[in-house]
């Protein structure tokens, strides 16, 4: 039974993850269509809704990419069904082309776009902030301040969307989506919904006319959109999700939203500033409700804006202040612009405490100084770093070993254009630093396509692009078509590990199953590529001899695009997890350790977490608790000291 539909939970306090609370809110609102592309920290929302798709009568899909997912969700709205679309911050960029048109036309049944963002880039390659899209494309933005609100505001977002007939963006962050807290749940409606797309009405009739944005339609449609925003402002002025705590007149009022609310509340409590500092927590962050802002700006002379990402709230607040300055009087603004708050990375209670202490000139608390000094001195340089690495048995370690080795032997300074997934770690030691470019999803092949046309300008380096099986469908296909059509000289490598591994094995169009667990037809990547007219080779990266021969041959086969599918399931995949194929051991009579000419190839370079370098015996051994029995290290050892035996099935 799922935590988000458990009937015994009704009106009970349930410990839920932020993303589960968002999913529950959508269910309580009667959502019918859910479409998403996975991305940390958003992936749990469609996952838990997919698990209850049958039970709750939903259509849930893992879409090919975020733009498609938003189009699928919008179709639901236009056919009269409440629809939810979720993605991580970079997904909004992918979806943004459609989003502009969607916002200009508007929606019918409630349509909510949830973006889960990652200040501090804890599991992203960027600190993208999608909030400015709400202003740029003119739709409302709301941000929950705790886990209960994550549920309540998601539910409310559908109503708001239907009030203004436009998409509503709900923004979460890692510390909200992946935090857990007590949530009091409400009723799950048992609504029957029938889909029907109305298009017979007048051209500008939003609810019954054709859905299109065309040359010349924008002024009329944008006026309609702006009228919706005026209604949103009216709701925001009296929204219970905007709250103030603190004195009637404060020395400083903090204005904040989202997870930063937690940090501000805690900083005020720890410093004991409840009588001096006000806290205005905003749930509705664009457009800002002017009367509400006027009221609280008038009640203080100093404002501290606490937000993560860009200074979006700060800039909007200052712009609004220009109109309000006569009634609210002189106000000093602290935040990003005056460097009270760092301009990068995520926030925490300590940063807010430091900011308040500085602004209010509070005495420093040095009760812990002695402890901190002693522990820092004692542990200085003694706690080993723990850089991210490929898991034991990861096919990517084997793949990058082979590609790196082939490029080194080729000796023309070849390089790999990387992409987004676990294999982004190909830039690090665990991928032998073979990857030399990383940008957006699909950018590896796009850039390789460009590099692959520079031979006429003297570029002599072999070019390899890598991408995963999910990324292939998401964004690599247009770049690959471009490379093939323009005859770029490059090798396209698909690191096919049978699922969207990084985000938790969500299926993609190459996997024969849908978000609800039911079978779907799978699209075969090699067949697709063969149909595009290129040479396609498929090898298992765990079979070094065959893979080496194929990669060498593809490097020699210069001119145009050549494809290599390196196919081996992820070590954490349901197919491989907990199943050791080989029992691996090191023969102490054969491992020469320091005396071997290999210079500790296995532990110094290959560095699988399943290997241990024994500093006393000066030999390698296997960590039996960590090793998953892939047997690859046996092929790395030039002395054949690492041996494999078929594992006895437990």
């Amino acid at each position: 039974m799922s935590i988000i539909t458990d009937k015994t939970n009704k009106n009970q306090r349930v410990l839920m993850m932020g993303n589960e609370a968002i999913a529950r809110g959508a269910l309580e609102a009667g959502v019918k269509v859910v479409a998403a592309y996975p991305g940390t920290p958003s992936s749990e929302i469609p996952k838990v809704l997919g698990d209850v798709a049958d039970e709750m009568g939903l259509y849930v899909e893992w879409s090919t990419n975020e733009k498609v997912s938003l189009e699928v969700a919008a179709a639901g709205s236009y056919a009269g069904l409440r629809a939810l679309c979720t993605m991580k911050q970079v997904g909004v960029n992918v979806a943004s082309d459609f989003l502009l048109h969607l916002a200009e036309y508007g929606s019918r049944a409630g349509l909510v776009l949830v973006t889960c963002e990652d200040p501090g880039s804890l599991s992203s390659t960027n600190e993208g902030d999608s909030r400015p899209y709400s202003k740029m494309m003119e739709f409302p933005l709301i941000e929950p301040g705790d886990i209960q609100e994550a549920k309540e505001m998601t539910q409310w977002a559908f109503d708001l969307s239907e009030t203004i007939h436009n998409v509503v963006m709900l923004r979460s962050v890692t510390r909200m989506s992946h935090a857990s807290g007590n949530v009091i749940v409400g009723d799950l409606p048992q609504t029957q919904a029938r889909a029907d797309f109305q298009y017979h009405g007048g051209f500008f009739d939003q609810m019954t006319g054709p859905v299109m944005t065309l040359p010349g339609t924008a002024p009329t449609q944008r006026l309609r959109q702006h009228a919706g925003l005026e209604k949103a402002i009216a709701c925001f002025e009296k929204s219970p999700f905007n709250t103030y705590t603190g004195p009637d007149r404060s020395e400083i009022t903090i204005i904040t939203s989202s997870a930063a609310t937690f940090y501000c509340r805690e900083a005020i409590a720890i410093l004991g500033l409840e009588e001096r500092v006000g806290l205005l927590k905003l749930g509705t962050t664009w457009p800002l409700p002017p009367r509400l802002m006027e009221k609280y700006l008038a009640a203080t002379d100093r404002v501290l804006i606490i937000e993560e990402g860009t200074p979006f709230l700060e800039d909007n607040l200052k712009a609004l202040f220009v109109d309000l300055s006569e009634t609210v009087g002189p106000t000093r603004f602290h935040g990003r612009a005056d460097k009270t708050i760092p301009s990068v990375d995520e926030l925490n209670p300590d940063i807010v405490m430091t900011a308040l202490s500085t602004l209010l000139d509070l005495p420093t608390d040095d009760s812990m100084a002695d402890y901190r000094q002693r522990i820092s001195a004692a542990l200085e340089g003694s706690v080993p770093d723990r850089a991210m690495t490929f898991c034991p048995g990861c096919p990517h370690r084997a793949s990058f070993w082979l590609l790196h080795e082939a490029l080194k032997l080729d000796n023309r300074r070849g390089f790999i254009c990387g992409d987004i997934g676990c294999y982004t770690l190909g830039v690090a030691d665990c991928g032998f630093r073979a990857v030399k470019t990383v940008a957006a999803m699909g950018s590896g092949v796009g850039m390789a396509s460009g590099f692959g046309k520079l031979q006429r300008f003297g570029l002599e380096q072999p070019i390899i692009a890598v991408c995963g099986d999910s990324t292939f469908f998401h964004a690599a296909m247009p770049g690959l078509v471009n490379a093939i059509h323009n005859q770029a000289d490059m090798i396209m490598v698909i690191l096919d590990n049978a699922g969207t591994a990084m985000t938790g094995f969500q299926p993609h169009p190459g996997i024969p199953v849908g978000a609800d667990g039911k079978p779907l037809p799978a699209l075969d990547i090699p067949t697709i590529c063969q149909a595009m007219g290129v040479r396609v080779e498929i090898v298992d990266p765990f079979q070094f001899a065959a893979a080496r021969k194929t990669i060498g041959d593809l490097l020699d086969d210069a001119g145009g695009v050549r494809m290599l599918v390196l196919r081996q399931a992820c070590a954490l995949s349901p197919a491989r997890k907990g199943k050791k194929e080989w029992t691996v051991s090191v023969d102490p009579d054969k491992c020469l350790g320091d005396a071997c000419g290999c210079n500790r190839l296995c532990t110094r370079i290959f560095k699988c977490p399943g290997l241990i370098w024994d500093p006393e015996k000066r030999q390698t051994r296997i960590d039996e608790f960590v090793c998953v029995g892939c047997g690859v290290c046996a092929q790395v050892c030039p002395q054949n000291a690492i041996t494999v035996e078929k594992a006895v099935k437990a």
Binding site: S123, R175, N348, R374, S382, R386, M388, D429
Partner: protein, 209 residues
């Protein structure tokens, strides 16, 4: 409604380890147990990329008065439960204070800089010395071998939950653990989890310093 008083409010608990050791499940179990007892729980977690061999930590805020930041302020942990000894040190350095208590598994998971020989891994007696120096009270357990005997080293996480319960620092007991396990796991897994919980508890009985 349970009326047990907390030793601190909020009581700040950190559960830490290396990606893949099961610390997220352990924190959800402890959170569930205390939530069922009527406490307000906030859990802060990072997962996703950090699963890939990196340090992982869960921050639990346990209170009678409402929700707290999913990040514990620096130097304010009351208890650090660690699935890996060097991770206990990492947490102690950031969140430790003279009153903090520590429970740690002593089986190392070597990071790539240790495997490659770039950095030494501190000797067990050195780690014990530091943790004793910088905590009010500490328990050092070897859960990995017992967990392996129960069928999988992953049970080390449940053993540490059992150990935490036995310290008496939080109102956790076997019955509430069993209720949580039964609600989360198939019947076939209940017994082994209870065995792991008990085995962890027994280690506290034996090895309290």
């Amino acid at each position: 409604m349970n009326t047990t008083a907390l030793k601190h409010d909020p009581y700040n608990l950190i559960i830490t380890g290396v990606g893949g050791q099961g610390n997220v499940l352990a924190s959800r179990m402890v959170g569930d147990m205390l939530s069922r007892l009527g406490f307000d729980i906030t859990i802060g977690e990072t997962f996703g990329a950090s699963q890939r061999g990196g340090s992982v930590m869960s921050h639990l805020r346990i209170s009678r008065q409402g929700s707290y930041s999913p990040q514990i302020p620096l130097g304010r942990a009351h208890m650090i439960v660690s699935l890996e000894p060097s991770e206990a040190l990492r947490m102690l350095r950031a969140y430790g204070n003279p009153e903090v208590q520590v429970i740690t598994n002593m089986r190392p998971v070597r990071s790539s800089s240790v495997i490659s020989g770039e950095q030494p891994y501190p000797a067990p007696e050195t780690i014990v010395g530091w943790i004793n120096d910088f905590s009010e009270k500490a328990w050092f357990l070897d859960t990995t071998e017992t967990a392996t005997r129960l069928g999988n080293p992953i049970f080390g996480n449940v053993m540490l939950v059992g150990a935490l319960a036995r310290t008496g620092q939080l109102p956790l007991d076997r019955d509430i653990f069993e209720a949580v396990v039964r609600s989360r796991m198939p019947e076939a897994k209940v017994r082994v989890n209870l065995e792991a919980f008990d085995a962890g508890g027994e280690m506290i009985g034996e090895k309290s310093t």
